[in-house]
């Protein structure tokens, strides 16, 4: 077998256009992945990474989802597409057995019809008619590889983010594919979860699979890759070994986040304390909170006190970062700021008065809370209507429109005012959600994991929006597991640990 010389997967994409779109999303993309090697496709938001990955793995089928000009070569077999009706039609089940894909939203791969992790892993084998004894062996083997052995009898719906990602990788890897495509495999994982996924990828490479990672950060995982492909605006602007591309202008232009690059903002903790001595915008006094036993939303919080005797004061113009591992209760803390959760003990004061009996919708005038999932927050037909929502009653028509346009300009969405929010790429949806909060000019901005899913351009816009807010005297509390980011942005870093905040 000359597997070491021949690429497992070779793709030449002249152009790929979704049905109904006028312009191609991908053009002139070439990719070759050899067995046992790691290839990183790096690109900013909307660069076409995900489309490329799904195309390689048969999740988007030429002819079915859009029209492809080019060729896909899997081992000795070569399929050529001309964008015509008599092009070959990919059999998704057979293709994906040999090219696995793990989407960014790992939950999307779950069948939703299997009640244990073991059966979920076996789902793809059942469909292909594998005898039961072989299936048991394959499930046991994949569970060992992915570190899921102890979780085999758990309900997939109860897994944590990192466990879910490993299950998704296991579901794709169980058929023994030659190629595995992973979309943002480390996104929104904490340090422990990221280490486990990186070990898993190492194991897959050792087993001889060609692994392709799609990422918008040149992070530790991407740096272990043998080959980089930089995607920008749907086409390859540079490719080569990481060492050669690390400082390349194409990388900087693409919007890829490079963690070690000097940040736009100098570390703020050196410059000033941020505390002004003015009356605090937000005050938490001896707050205690626990989810009711039995049906707590986060499973790790059951019966246990999530917040304990917690004190916090945030002054105008101050930026406070709250860090801590997944499940420490960071989001729970944030939900106390505007009354979505009410403390069992203690009290929450916003701008000097208690919010104990004020409805959330009213507190929202002074506290702007931004959630992790922008889709839940957006509901209007156009971007402009979305940002203007609730402003008209307070400001009048003209002022509300100019305020809305101002907020859109601040997040770089001025050109998209007439677009349906759901048609924006995920990162721009996050920025739009940020704009809806900023437009209301709240006294306190509370941001839950604001950096997740943002590329470099998005991070810069987020940074300037936070700057502008503090400049007019607003306070900012941001919750993040990204300690480096917290260090760069915040005046103070607090760690949530054992239900209390600790200065870092």
């Amino acid at each position: 077998m000359s597997a070491t010389t021949r690429p497992a997967l070779l793709a030449r994409i002249g152009g790929f256009t979704f049905h109904g779109d006028a312009r191609p999303v991908l053009r002139d993309v070439g990719l070759s992945a050899a067995p046992g090697t790691l290839t990183a496709v790096l690109g900013g938001s909307g660069s076409g990474k995900t489309t490329l990955g799904k195309l390689l793995a048969g999740w988007l089928r030429p002819g079915h989802a859009g029209s492809l000009m080019g060729s896909l070569e899997l081992g000795p077999e070569r399929l050529v597409f001309h964008g015509l009706a008599d092009d070959p039609r990919i059999n998704p089940g057979a293709w994906s057995r040999r090219v696995g894909f793990v989407p960014q939203d790992a939950a999307a791969t779950l069948s939703t019809v299997r009640s244990t992790v073991a059966e979920e892993l076996a789902f793809g084998l059942e469909n292909r008619g594998m005898p039961r004894a072989d299936m048991h062996a394959a499930v046991a083997g994949t569970a060992t590889l992915t570190g899921l052995t102890a979780l085999l009898e758990r309900d997939p719906a109860t897994l944590s983010g990192g466990e879910l990602r490993r299950l998704a990788v296991g579901c794709a890897a169980i058929t023994g594919p030659e190629v595995l495509v992973l979309d943002e495999p480390l996104a929104s994982l904490d340090a422990a979860g990221a280490v486990q996924v990186r070990d898993l990828i190492r194991g897959l490479l050792d087993a001889g699979a060609a692994v392709i990672v799609l990422s918008q950060a040149a992070d530790g995982l991407a740096r272990t890759a043998g080959h980089w492909i930089i995607l920008d605006g749907g086409t390859v602007t540079a490719s080569g070994p990481p060492a050669q591309l690390m400082g390349a202008p194409e990388l900087a232009r693409s919007g890829v986040v490079v963690p070690d690059m000097p940040s736009a903002a100098p570390s703020r903790r050196d410059t000033s304390t941020g505390r002004t001595g003015a009356a605090p915008v937000l005050e938490l006094r001896t707050v205690g909170f626990g989810y009711p036993a039995g049906r707590g939303s986060p499973p790790e919080a059951r019966e246990e006190q999530v917040l304990r005797n917690l004190d916090l004061a945030v002054d105008p113009g101050e930026i406070v970062a709250v860090t801590g591992p997944n499940g420490a209760g960071k989001s729970t803390l944030l939900r106390h700021f505007n009354g979505l959760l009410r403390p069992a003990a203690g009290e929450v004061r916003v701008q000097g008065s208690s919010i104990a009996s004020v409805p959330v919708g009213r507190v929202a005038a002074s506290v702007g809370l931004l959630f992790q999932h922008p889709r839940d927050q957006l509901f209007e037909r156009t971007v402009l209507r979305e940002v203007s929502f609730g402003l008209r009653g307070r400001l009048g028509v003209e002022a509300s429109v100019s305020r809305a346009y101002g907020a859109l300009a601040a997040v770089g969405l001025s050109d998209a005012a007439g677009t349906h929010p759901a048609e924006l790429p995920a990162s721009q949806q996050r920025l739009l959600a940020l704009a809806t909060v900023v437009a209301r000019e709240p006294a306190l901005l509370a941001l839950d994991e604001p950096t997740v899913g943002l590329d470099r351009h998005g991070l810069d816009l987020l940074h300037s929006a936070v700057e502008a807010a503090t400049a007019r005297g607003a306070a900012v509390v941001l919750v993040t597991h990204d300690v480096a980011y917290a260090r760069a942005m915040a005046h103070r870093i607090l760690e949530l640990d054992g239900g209390r905040l600790r200065q870092v």
């Binding site: 799904k54 793995a57 999740w59 988007l60 059999n91 998704p92 089940g93 293709w95 994906s96 057995r97 696995g100 894909f101 989407p103 939203d105 999307a108 791969t109 779950l110 069948s111 939703t112 019809v113 299997r114 009640s115 244990t116 073991a118 059966e119 076996a122 793809g124 084998l125 059942e126 469909n127 292909r128 008619g129 594998m130 005898p131 039961r132 299936m135 048991h136 499930v139 719906a157 794709a172 939900r335 979505l340 409805p359 959330v360 919708g361 009213r362 929202a364 005038a365 506290v367 959630f371 999932h373 889709r375 839940d376 927050q377 509901f379 929502f389 609730g390 759901a422 909060v437 209301r440």
Partner: protein, 252 residues
């Protein structure tokens, strides 16, 4: 755990009992069946869910039947009381009793089944019987999605309230709020469904050909024989009823 009823045995039992009860057309039998189902639900430890669910379904139906046939039954002859157009007749009350008890029996029996059956076992058993895998998918996926949707709707409401949406006021503003909540929900569900379709295809769901099952559902021979007998009894009951009532129902 494996010694329990095979899901198809439970389903066959529930279906046969319901059919026989309908065919027998006797309120005494119906009430006996309903009570038996109630007792079984207590013994299975699911009475706390079966009885309230049955009450919610049956209470309005029984009241409606009592009002309808108890007061207005033109076919009735034995009049017990009369106010204007409303006549209380023995026949009307009997008819209401017949139908209410019959529906109660069927509802209790089927609720007992659905609250005791292990859905993954049922899906697995159906697939092993060559029921299209798509049916099992729709059944199991819906039952998985329902609780997840409740949680998602809650997240949407929280996010929207955080943006200053105050849920209050008259019918129109409530309708407006419902629309605002529906749009992200429907959108997310349709989007997720698109992703799930790609994932299912990739995992060979639509591939056709023979399928196997990871889950092993024990099906003892005794239960197979029981199912055959139950189906036979139900068929006999239906045949007898059809034969007995056919002339009476003929074109007249």
């Amino acid at each position: 755990m494996r010694a329990r009823l095979h899901p198809l045995t439970a389903l066959t039992a529930a279906g046969s009992v319901a059919v026989i009860t309908v065919a027998a057309d006797s309120w005494l039998l119906s009430l006996a069946v309903a009570c038996a189902a109630g007792v079984l639900s207590v013994r299975a430890g699911v009475a706390g869910r079966v009885l309230p669910a049955a009450a919610v379904i049956l209470a309005p139906l029984c009241l409606s039947l009592l009002m309808l046939h108890g007061l207005f039954f033109p076919e009735g002859h034995t009049v017990l009381a009369q106010w204007g157009p409303a006549r209380v007749t023995t026949e009307g009350l009997g008819f209401a009793l017949d139908l209410a008890s019959r529906t109660a029996a069927c509802v209790m029996v089927f609720l007992l089944f659905s609250f005791t059956v292990n859905v993954p076992d049922l899906v697995s058993a159906l697939e092993a019987r060559r029921v299209p895998a798509q049916f099992g998918f729709v059944l199991a996926s819906t039952l998985t999605l329902l609780p997840a949707i409740a949680a998602r709707l809650d997240r949407i409401r929280q996010a929207q309230e955080s943006r200053g949406l105050v849920l209050r006021g008259g019918l129109l503003s409530r309708l407006g709020a419902v629309r605002l909540q529906m749009v992200p929900l429907v959108l997310a569900l349709v989007d997720d469904a698109g992703n799930r379709a790609q994932a299912l295809d990739a995992r060979g769901f639509g591939i056709g050909g023979p399928r196997t099952s990871y889950r092993d559902v024990a099906d003892p021979p005794a239960q197979r024989r029981f199912r055959a007998v139950a189906l036979l009894l139900a068929a006999v009951a239906v045949a007898l009823r059809l034969a007995a009532s056919w002339p009476a129902a003929g074109l007249s």
